[in-house]
Structures are given as structure tokens and as C-alpha cells.
Symmetry: C2
Subunit: 369 residues, 2 copies
């Protein structure tokens, strides 16, 4: 095989597939990338067994072929070439001895036969849903945080994608809180439902663009979900089993409704968090009265309180939360003002908008006083 690359294009493609390269593994293959040049296309491939990424890169194909190279080593060699304009030449002989050349510098490293590589499973690409790259990136960011790595319940490390009546619902929950985002799809789609490891979605969030004009096609199969965008395919395994019955956790009844400036509330909570040491589990207490929300913390470090103006309807209420859970939700909402719905000090609160774009459920914690 003999290929010639432009540095920026190769660096770009490598940074995409590197997201599926394992760093801590005993397997040489999972630390590697496959470079394949056939049918006038050069394709890079990487997999960590759960996530597989394939991307196409422009290159001059002098001789077709393939090789598997250590991903980190090859990527460092390419990045360190000084000149962005000169072509990078990749030459692989029949024993997979590999030479990487650019200007004066010549690197000789050992490659592996492509037959050793685990190929990406073939997914039928006929029935997809479509959304903009921007929407997918945003919806992952707005939900990925309320997950937990749990051996007891693996579903807490997954994200439900539920397509129904042309709405895609994304849901995560970790036992203390739940995040729900709904995206209205443009077009008519069949219903689909699967749970994707949140780690896979986080990697997609990192490589996908923020373009509202470019689309992602999402394909569903029995064991996998496939994302197709630009010249890239990302394939993830899905989690076996049923997701939580979330409908039973949701309620539209409430006794207290508060409308508050999102940034002012967030800033007040962040102040209260200063006095909470990581392992102390001290709650933040909210005192909801007409016109005013008092936020206070009392811990081994001292005590503090602060106030934020609110609009309130319904009863006064005193309720306590883990402040981090409230801040996490406020951070990923775009609205300047948020509506928060409470029932009583033992029941979850809901931060949600009227358009049903988002619902964040947060369980309160016990407190004395």
C-alpha cells in the first residue's frame, strides 16, 4: 500500500476514529486503527468492542492495500510533522513493515495484517431517523450527566432513545434524578426504542459538529444503533433489557410553582456549595415564600444563606436538595427563567417548560429543621 495524505485532513480523521480506541487494554487490536485503501476510497476504522467508528479521508492512492497500526503512535508521528503543506507518505510492504515520511523525517514502525482487525458489523441502512447534528449534540449534552455506573443496574449507565409519533425522547436517570428531552422530528418515522451506553453518546457528542444545516441519520437494529454523519459512521452496541418505567414517575400535579431567573438561582446554589465538603452530604435548604426563595447551608465549615427573587403560586414550602443535582439541570437549560414545580418536602420537584421540550426531575433529601 502506498498513500499520500494532507496533514490536516489526516489529523482530522484520526482524531475522529481515536475516540473508539481503547487506552487501557491488553489487546493490540483495540489500541489500533485499520487503514484501508480499496475502490478509490481510504477508510480509517477503530473499535473498542462496544463502540466502532469508521471515517473516510481524502488521499492519493498510489497503491491499494491495508494495514493496522498502533493508533497513538501513528497519530503522534503525523501530528509532529512540522509542515502542514507537505504531503505525508504512508508506505506498507507485504510484511506490513510501515514507513511514514514527510519532508526530511522518516519513521519505520511495524504494522499488523488487516485480517486481524475486528470488522464493523454490517447494519442494514434502510430505515433511519434524521435530525440535525446540532440537535443531537445538544440533546446529549442536556441529558448525559444524570447517569451512573452501577453493577446492580446497568440501565443507569444507558440513555433511552424512544422515537414515537415523530418525537424523539432522550431519557437518563441515576436513582436521584431524571433528565428528559424531546425533539420534534421533521418527517414521518416508524417507532423505535433502545438504550444506548451513555459513553457511546458522549464520544459522538465530542466528534459531531454543531451545524444546524447538516443532518445525522440514525439507524436501529436488534443489537446496535448506527449514527451516520459527514463521512463518518459510529456504531454502538445497545443495552439488553427494559429501561425504567418512567411514566409512573412523572406527575403534572403540584402544590407550589416557582418561576426564577435561571442564572441567579444557579449562582446562589453555587455559593451554597462552597460550604459542602464532598463526603459530608449536607443538604441545601430552600425556603419558598411569596416573592423570595431563601437558600441556606449549615455544615462543619460554617453556615450561609442567600436570597433570590421569585414569582410563586401555591403553598409556601421548605425542602432540601443535593445542590449539585439542581445546578446540573439549570446549567443545560437555555431559558432565562425556569418554572419549578413542587408537591411537598418528600416528593420530587420538576423543572420543566410549557412546550414539553425538557423535564428535569430531582428527588429531595431529608433534613432536620
Amino acid at each position: 500500500m502506498n498513500l499520500k495524505f494532507q496533514k490536516t485532513q489526516l489529523v482530522n480523521a484520526l482524531s475522529i476514529v481515536m475516540k473508539a480506541v481503547s487506552t487501557k487494554t491488553a489487546s493490540v487490536i483495540l489500541e489500533s486503527i485499520l487503514i484501508n485503501a480499496t475502490d478509490n476510497r481510504v477508510v480509517l476504522d477503530a473499535t473498542d468492542n462496544e463502540l466502532s467508528i469508521q471515517t473516510e479521508v481524502d488521499a492519493i492512492i498510489v497503491e491499494e492495500g491495508g494495514v493496522v497500526l498502533n493508533a497513538k503512535l501513528f497519530s503522534e508521528i503525523v501530528r509532529k510533522f512540522e509542515d502542514n503543506e507537505s504531503l505525508i507518505e504512508l508506505d506498507v510492504d507485504k510484511d506490513f513493515k510501515t514507513t511514514v515520511k514527510c519532508e526530511q523525517a522518516v519513521f519505520n514502525i511495524m504494522g499488523i495484517d488487516p485480517v486481524e482487525f475486528i470488522p464493523m458489523p454490517n447494519i442494514k441502512r434502510d430505515d433511519s431517523i434524521k435530525m440535525s447534528q446540532f440537535s443531537l449534540k445538544e440533546v446529549i449534552r442536556q441529558t448525559e450527566f444524570s447517569t451512573a455506573i452501577s453493577d446492580i443496574n446497568r440501565m443507569m449507565g444507558g440513555e433511552l432513545i424512544d422515537v414515537k409519533d415523530n418525537v424523539a425522547k432522550f431519557v437518563t436517570l441515576d436513582g436521584h434524578r431524571m433528565s428528559i428531552r424531546n425533539i420534534n422530528l421533521i418527517g414521518e418515522y416508524e417507532d423505535h426504542r433502545c438504550v444506548v451506553p451513555v459513553k457511546s453518546l458522549q464520544e459522538i457528542m465530542r466528534i459531531i459538529g454543531s451545524d444546524t444545516q447538516k443532518n445525522v441519520n440514525i439507524y436501529f437494529s436488534k443489537d446496535h444503533i448506527l449514527f451516520e454523519f459527514d463521512r463518518t459512521l459510529v456504531l454502538s452496541r445497545i443495552l439488553d433489557g427494559e429501561f425504567f418505567r418512567i411514566e409512573s414517575m412523572l406527575s403534572r400535579d403540584y402544590d407550589t410553582k416557582v418561576t426564577v431567573s435561571r442564572l441567579k438561582f444557579q449562582s446562589a446554589i453555587e455559593q451554597s456549595m462552597i460550604l459542602i465538603r464532598e463526603n459530608e452530604h449536607k443538604p441545601m435548604i430552600l425556603d419558598i415564600e411569596n416573592g423570595m426563595l431563601k437558600i441556606s447551608v449549615n455544615s462543619s465549615l460554617g453556615f450561609m444563606d442567600t436570597k433570590v427573587n421569585i414569582e410563586k403560586s401555591g403553598s409556601d414550602l421548605k425542602i432540601a436538595f443535593n445542590p449539585k443535582f439542581v445546578v446540573d439541570a439549570l446549567k443545560v437549560i437555555d431559558d432565562d427563567f425556569v418554572d419549578i414545580y413542587f408537591t411537598n418536602a418528600k416528593s420530587p420537584c420538576f423543572i420543566r417548560d410549557n412546550e414539553n421540550t425538557y423535564t428535569y426531575l430531582i428527588l429531595p433529601v431529608n433534613f432536620i429543621g
Copy 2:
């Protein structure tokens, strides 16, 4: 005590004294700062026993007094106040109960009696040397890297400051290499010589400005060195004992002189380092011939070579180095071209300029071939 601060001024002063606050200590005092308001001045103080920093901050003094507060906690409270314009009020009662207020937020934390604090030793400030803040910051950056933490030889963790004939010489060495920088002082000064823990100088480098118009006064005493700049005093213990006899290591004889583009050489060495795993100790080999310097590495990961144009006088030479040591020196030199002087494959090389501003000595390593 009752004081009122502007947020940015207080944050600024705190970030300066925080450099002398210990993070891993069983001592409450070493994790704290002293705030003292007397004689119409508000002064912040911190010490980790080796390094002490004192800085003055503007404040409205409603009532004089003093308190010792946990540095990290107080600094976080101040930083998290939302409004940069509103004044921050610090109120301390006779039992050192401390209230920090800004706008709606009120924090109550426990302070400590200032008599518990270790005061900064009093150093006679009559005989100083003077240099610009820029010069001091630069000279530390250009020498601090060739030091080592060694129980066997503590001097390797120190930096010699040797003032003689109105030249300040700064020297560090770690057993493999030595860095020397000379600064011509403006003015007439007595000779001084001491060894400062490099950690102290690194902290000074982080808090000092880059202003060529502002000066630092440096005072020497039997056990301490004191740096005075802006409204800040930094006092460091000095190391007991004699520094290495560096004169005997220096030689102006050479058999080979090479002139090379600093950035091209640096970039070629950085390429060669890709193939060197941290614990493999593989050398970089330099082949010096007329007009051309070949750089090569042969390791378990593969082999590479590259070339850089040079001007050479004297004999051809093959010599090996730890590439990191060469790159570290090249990185802190400002010249576009550097002169490197060699004797033979067993003797140190010297990177130095004609004006005697800098000398970097690097020992070669053995190699086979």
C-alpha cells in the same frame, strides 16, 4: 474588625498570598491566611514555613483588627460572589466569629486568633540588588527546569544566585545538565551569594508581573532572601551549605562547533522523542557532518531519522543525548540560531551565546554503534 473590599482587588491579593499556602498539611495555620488591619493598612499574610508571602490590599477600614481564616474557604467565598461591583464586607467579632457578606449572601465561618499565626521574620531592608520584574521572571523560567529533588544532594533542588561585579548569575544543575544565566545589573552592588529552593522561585515566577519598567528589590540575609515588588514581600529560606563548584565543569575548548536553527532543531528532536517510551532510556543519536545534522532513534517502537541543515566547523562527530535535556534548553532560548560546542562523544556539549548571557551544559549518554 470590619473591612470592606472591592472584589477584584481582594481576589488579586488572595491569589498572590495563596502561593504560600500549604495544601497538604496537618497544620491549620499553614492552610490559613492572616488578615491584619492596622495603621490604615490591610495586609494579607501566608506561610508554608519555607516560603512566606505578604501583600497589601486596598480596603475601607471601618474597624481595625485581625483574623486568621482558612485560605481556600475564604478565597472560594470571595470568588463566588456574583457581583464584581458590590463591596465585600468582612466582619470579625471578639471571638473571631467571622461574617463575609456581599449583596444577599451571608457566610458565617470560624476564624482564629492572629496571635496563633507565625509572623514573617523581620529582614533588614537596607542593602538590596535591583532588577526588572521581567528580568527576574525570565531568568527563573530559563533555569528552573534543570533541578532535581534529591535526598542525597539537596543542592540539586536549589538555585544559586551569585552577585559579583554587578552581574547576577543564576545557576541550577541536576547531575545531567546545568543551566547558567547572567544578568547585567544596572547600578553598583556588593557581592552576594546564596542558594534558594527552586520551588520558592517558581512561586515568585507565577505571581510577578512581566513589566520591564517595574523593579524587584532583592535583599540577602544569613538565613533568608527577600523579594520586594509592587506591594508584596516574598521571603524564602535559603539552603545551608556550599553549591557545586561549577567553574571546574566549564570549558571553552571545543573540537566541533555547530550553528543550527533553534526551532528546526527543536522540532526534529520532538519528532525523535515519539519513539522513546518513558522508561526505555533510549538515546537520540546525533551525526554531525559538514552541512547536515542527522538525528536518529532506534527503539522497541521502531526507528526514525531526520535531518537539519547546520553550519559546522571542526571535526565530524557522532554523539548521543537524552533528547528531553536538549529540548528543555532550546525551549528557553530566545535566539533564532544557537551555537553548540562539542569536544567528543564522552564530554558535555555547551549551548552558549557569545555575549555570555546563557550557557547550557548537557552530558551525553552512551550508545552502541
